[in-house]
Amino acid sequence: MFALPSLKATRIRKTVVVLAATLVSLGSLSAFADDHPTKVGFVYVGPVGDHGWTYRHDVGRLAIEAEFGDKVETTFVESVGEGADAERVIRKLAADGNDLIFTTSFGYMNPTIKVAKMFPDVKFEHATGYKRADNVSTYSARFYEGRAVIGTMAGMMTKSNIIGYIASFPIPEVVRGINAFTIAMRKVNPDAEVRVVWVNSWYDPGKEGDAAKTLIDQGADIITQHTDSPAPLQIAQERGVIGFGQASDMSAFAPDAQLTSIIDDWNQYYIDRTKAVMDGTWESVDVWHGIDSGLVGFAEYGPAVSEDVKAAAEVIKEGIIDGSIHPFQGPINNQAGEEVVAEGEILDDGVLLGMDYYVEGVQGSLPK
């Protein structure tokens, strides 16, 4: 079973919430007393075995099953293209009587909105998009907060001062991650630079691995990635360099190389939203939470991480949680060395959502 160890802790916490919720619903004698299970559907962009993005969503799906047992029924469709096929799959899940449908990739935004109009009684949750409706929520996580933590670690640990960054598509989400990483890295090591290779795919182990090789050949001694397969880390392990995992704990693929990994932890969110549908309290929301909410987690530190690096990483984590540190706090310079964010200023969410430039310290130009 893939059920995570952390589930146990959440289950205790959940039991309290469930008890409280039960008392509330007993009071209102909710009309939701029918006994057929709540159906929850998932649309995945990759295969569940990608060990990255889709895998973590599927772990979230299993967490729903573990939490509610036979009170829920979950289904998923994997490797659904972000073109004409998405609408058919989403619509089919809706027509099949799913009460709640999670569409877990940006490209499903317009199809989700379209199908949601046809099925006003079905609740939809779209990951990483910006269009909402009465029955469509959006949710995402501030992964850039995690990038600030690993950027700090990379800045302290690099010897060649070259970090290799394997990126998927030049969309704001990815650019934001590169920038947050670079800003944090340059704070502890102003001489370090980030080299980006775009592979134009979210999941392509072959290309990702080749990109890692290229970057290592160019002198990178730390590899990080915004793509979903463990291939870059495997290459790092083979070549004796270090790096960071993506989306899930990838230490099984690179026991020596993985320093830590930013973990997408949707479990609690998925459980809460399913509960809300069961209770009839579901409302359309826009969720964009970070480390403090648990949506952004971390894998255990690897063997190569020294105590002072661990301590520095923890300081950043704590600072982000208590609000004393913000990954996009000025002064921030762009690549030309011009100040784009003044001392003391913090970039607002609007700018972060549409971020389309590199900060100082990133080599190369952003593909447009």
Partner: protein, 356 residues
């Protein structure tokens, strides 16, 4: 003992029966596969082959999925019959989508009748332009069109990516790589209310008829076939080979470009970094499965489309992995190639002489 005996003449009957035999064997092997996966065989069969087309909406989606496959495959078969191996229909489709989509975005919110026809024209020309490159390289420099057309596909995909990340990006879209949604006058009219079945399905059928007439009733069609089967005979008969190459590639470019435009102006409704799940490549399989015959291509296109819908349905109702779709498509090809042996050979029961 069964043994194979060469036939005097290739069997026409087996040529027609082989695809059916392959389909039958695929279904049977599929049922065995279901049984091995622990799925009740009847349920598996129902989920994969019946359920997707058991409703009007399901049938309409079959049409949506099959239309681009048929449009491209029917055009590919023209070229394949005359030994012109265009592997780059996917790229031609993408260019059609780009050119047609660009027109839609240029006339954004211009509510006029001419927008859609202009988009179609632009899509057709875009596809032809992309196909003209391998045609030129082949006729001028004798460069192999298999390689050039295939490589141009990757260029087309990157060109699309470049455009939706830059000039054609939705200005209100938070810099996400996709265009604006096309306005009503730039989207295809639906044939059936409440479905996504668009006029592309009718155009696909029209192209089937046109291609059939072309191949069987015109001199050009005859020249194409002769060039394929006996190029030298064709030359003696005075057919210019270069002209046939140009025609085959441009015809396919036009059809694929139009199919691409139909995708972006129909089910998708905007330009995205990827507009096709590989229709241009799948169409190659469809063309061969359909025996390079326009009517065969229609059936092959429907079968191939059904395998995608069936795969989705099997995932939803039986929790089977998506790989089942690929396995089915692979088995279909495998059995088709195996069954093709029967066109040139016959099975005979040979009694080994051990009468004791």
């Amino acid at each position: 003992m069964i043994s194979l005996q060469p036939r005097q003449q290739p069997s026409k009957l087996m040529g027609l029966l082989a695809p059916l035999l392959a389909l039958l064997l695929t279904v049977l092997a599929g049922l065995v596969l279901f049984a091995l996966l622990g799925v009740p065989v009847g349920q598996g069969f129902y989920a994969f082959f019946i359920e997707p087309v058991s409703s009007v909406y399901g049938l309409s989606e079959l049409g949506v999925k099959a239309a681009p496959l048929i449009m491209i495959a029917v055009a590919l078969s023209v070229g394949y019959r005359s030994n012109v191996w265009n592997i780059g229909a996917e790229g031609q489709l993408i260019l059609g989508g780009i050119c047609g989509g660009a027109v839609a975005l240029y006339f954004y919110e211009v509510d006029a009748w001419y927008v859609l026809p202009l988009m179609m024209l632009s899509g057709v020309l875009g596809g032809m332009l992309w196909a003209a490159i391998p045609a030129l390289l082949r006729t001028r420099f004798n460069a192999n069109e298999i390689l050039t057309s295939l490589m141009l596909t990757y260029i087309a995909a990157l060109l699309l990516s470049l455009l939706v990340h830059g000039p054609l990006r939705d200005p209100d879209g938070f810099n996400f790589p996709e265009s604006r949604l096309f306005h009503a006058a730039a989207t295809l009219p639906n044939i059936m209310q409440g479905t996504r079945l668009h006029i592309g399905a009718l155009v696909a059928l029209l192209l089937v008829v046109v291609t059939w007439v072309l191949l069987s009733r015109t001199l050009l069609g005859f020249a194409l076939k002769v060039n394929g089967q006996a190029p030298r005979a064709g030359q003696y008969a005075g057919f210019t080979q270069n002209r046939l190459i140009w025609f085959s590639l441009l015809y396919c470019g036009a059809c694929a470009g139009l199919a691409g435009l139909f995708e972006v102006a129909g089910p998708i409704g905007q330009l995205l970094p990827t507009i096709s799940p590989g229709y241009g490549f799948t169409a190659i399989i469809v063309a061969f499965l359909g025996r390079l015959h326009p009517v065969g291509v229609v059936f092959a296109g429907l079968v191939m489309a059904l395998s995608y819908l069936g795969g989705e349905s099997a995932q939803i109702s039986l929790n089977l992995p998506v790989a089942v779709t690929g396995v089915f498509q692979g088995m279909l090809l495998f059995f088709l190639l195996a069954a093709d042996v029967l066109i040139h050979y016959r099975l005979v029961w040979r009694r080994t002489g051990v009468a004791a």
